[in-house]
């Protein structure tokens, strides 16, 4: 639970205290990198992290995100195709019906 929001690390602000500036849609806030400090801090600049109560709790996995999105878009496209087919079927039907009225 608890609100988390993706943000991008733009700058290390205090290496000793593991603090960095994060950017969320142009809004900036200093966050602690402590939870993700098991990798070199410098590597985190430019990364997207999941921010919760002022801590970067996780580095967002770009690859996993893309896969999830792909699956979702696939479902969307499949549905669009289906709807197009149904529409086609109706379009094929409809003149007949309209004539019938």
């Amino acid at each position: 639970m608890c609100l988390g929001i993706p943000g991008q690390i733009v700058e290390i602000t205090d290496e000793a205290r593991l603090m960095a500036m994060a950017d969320v849609s142009g809004v900036q806030r200093e966050v602690s990198l402590a939870p993700v400090s098991d990798r070199p801090l410098a590597d985190l600049v430019g990364e997207w992290v999941l921010i919760h109560v002022g801590f970067a709790m996780a580095v967002i996995d770009e690859h996993e995100a893309a896969e999830t999105l792909e699956a979702l878009r696939g479902l969307g496209e499949a549905q669009e195709a289906l709807e197009a087919m149904e529409q086609g079927a109706r379009a094929f039907d409809e003149p007949v019906r309209e004539n019938a009225q």
Binding site: C2, L3, V24, S25, G26, V27, R29
Partner: protein, 347 residues
């Protein structure tokens, strides 16, 4: 007379209780900081005013007041003085009045920098001039340190409603469209960031602006303009709820049409806030019959304060709730009035 308002008498100082005591220090403060800029015409403690517009048969006088208590008193895009002029001008304007005269009453905390007062007063004079109103009378009180927050300003406004004009939420009918003049939430988000407790920074500015000219133009272009409200405290959501209740209609909002800056959205995501409830100080929502919507939009977009004007919803027959919104995602939800202020939702 004894050295009236030599500039040096107050420069670089802070306000002390002596400046509120009714004596020479108060007179110096008032002369140098306030009346020296506002230049009221009467030497008595009242303005004496005449206006041809008021003499027109059927014209009515509009009278409104608001206190301004913002923290911090200076913020990107404005200050408490600008707010105090624009806010009261807007309360006159959205009711269909031509704003003419303002009063300005200051409650100042002991220790307040006099240079700050100078800046606030200059900002008020600038805004008043741009809005075409005069600050004609005023008052100052000084209270002990800790008894107010730097400075509070109360402005009252007097204007004239031309004969025959009668804007009011009660006139809204199902089918009318709701138009806002520009982006939403900038003021509320700017203040949240400027306050500093949440350590957020964003390249945002308050939308604080006077809407008198805009309202005059729309009222001219739309003979059946129903009503307008400035969407201040409580944001667009509260303004629409109040209007819907008064008119006994419902309002259907379209989330996708709401003009919001990315930074405002970002701030809302971080803090779990809803931008519909963020305060605005230069945004209004108005209702016109559908037939006059294009005229309203065109008129508004021709003015700087209406450049981003857009239809955000429409009135319908009264349903089970006053305001409902269709999200971009497809679902609908109620846009209720909040109980109190929105609090950050974090954990």
């Amino acid at each position: 007379m004894n050295m009236p308002s030599k500039p040096s008498r107050l420069r670089g100082e802070r306000v002390t209780l002596a400046h509120g005591g009714g004596g020479r220090a108060m007179r110096d403060l008032i002369e140098e900081v306030f009346t020296g800029v506002f230049r009221p015409e009467s030497g008595e403690d009242q303005a004496r005013l005449s206006s041809d517009a008021l003499q027109v048969p059927g014209a009515r006088l509009a009278f409104t007041t608001d206190s301004y208590v913002v923290t911090p008193v200076e913020f990107p895009g404005g200050d408490i003085g600008k707010l105090a002029v624009c806010g009261t001008v807007n309360d006159l304007a959205v009711g269909g009045a031509q704003p003419l005269w303002l009063s300005a009453s200051f409650i100042i905390e002991e220790g307040c920098e006099i240079a700050l007062l100078h800046r606030i007063v200059a900002s008020m004079a600038r805004e008043a001039e741009a809005a075409g109103v005069k600050i004609v009378t005023g008052d100052t009180k000084v209270v002990e340190k800790g008894s107010c927050d730097t400075v509070f300003i109360t402005t009252s406004g007097v204007g004239v409603i031309p004969p025959g004009r009668d804007l009011g939420a009660v006139h809204i009918r199902p089918g009318d469209v709701a138009i806002v003049n520009g982006v939403l939430g900038d003021h509320g988000a700017t203040i949240l960031a400027a306050r500093g407790d949440l350590a957020l920074s964003a390249p945002l500015q308050s939308d604080c602006q006077a809407l008198g000219h805009l309202m005059a133009a729309v009222a001219g272009a739309c003979p059946n303009l129903r009503a307008a409200r400035d969407a201040t405290r409580g944001g667009l959501a509260s303004a629409l709820n109040e209007m819907a209740e008064a008119a006994n209609v419902s309002v259907e909002l379209d989330e996708a049409s709401l003009p919001l800056r990315p930074e405002v959205k970002g701030m809302c995501e971080i803090l779990g806030l809803d931008p519909l409830y963020l305060a605005n100080e230069g945004a209004l929502v108005l209702f016109v019959p559908e037939a006059e919507a294009d005229a309203a939009l065109a008129t508004m977009r021709a003015l700087p304060s209406g450049r981003a004007a857009v239809i955000v919803g429409r009135a319908t027959e009264r349903g089970s709730v006053p305001v409902r919104m269709t999200s971009a995602f497809g679902g609908t939800r109620i846009v209720d009035m909040l109980v109190g202020e929105q609090l950050p939702r974090i954990c």
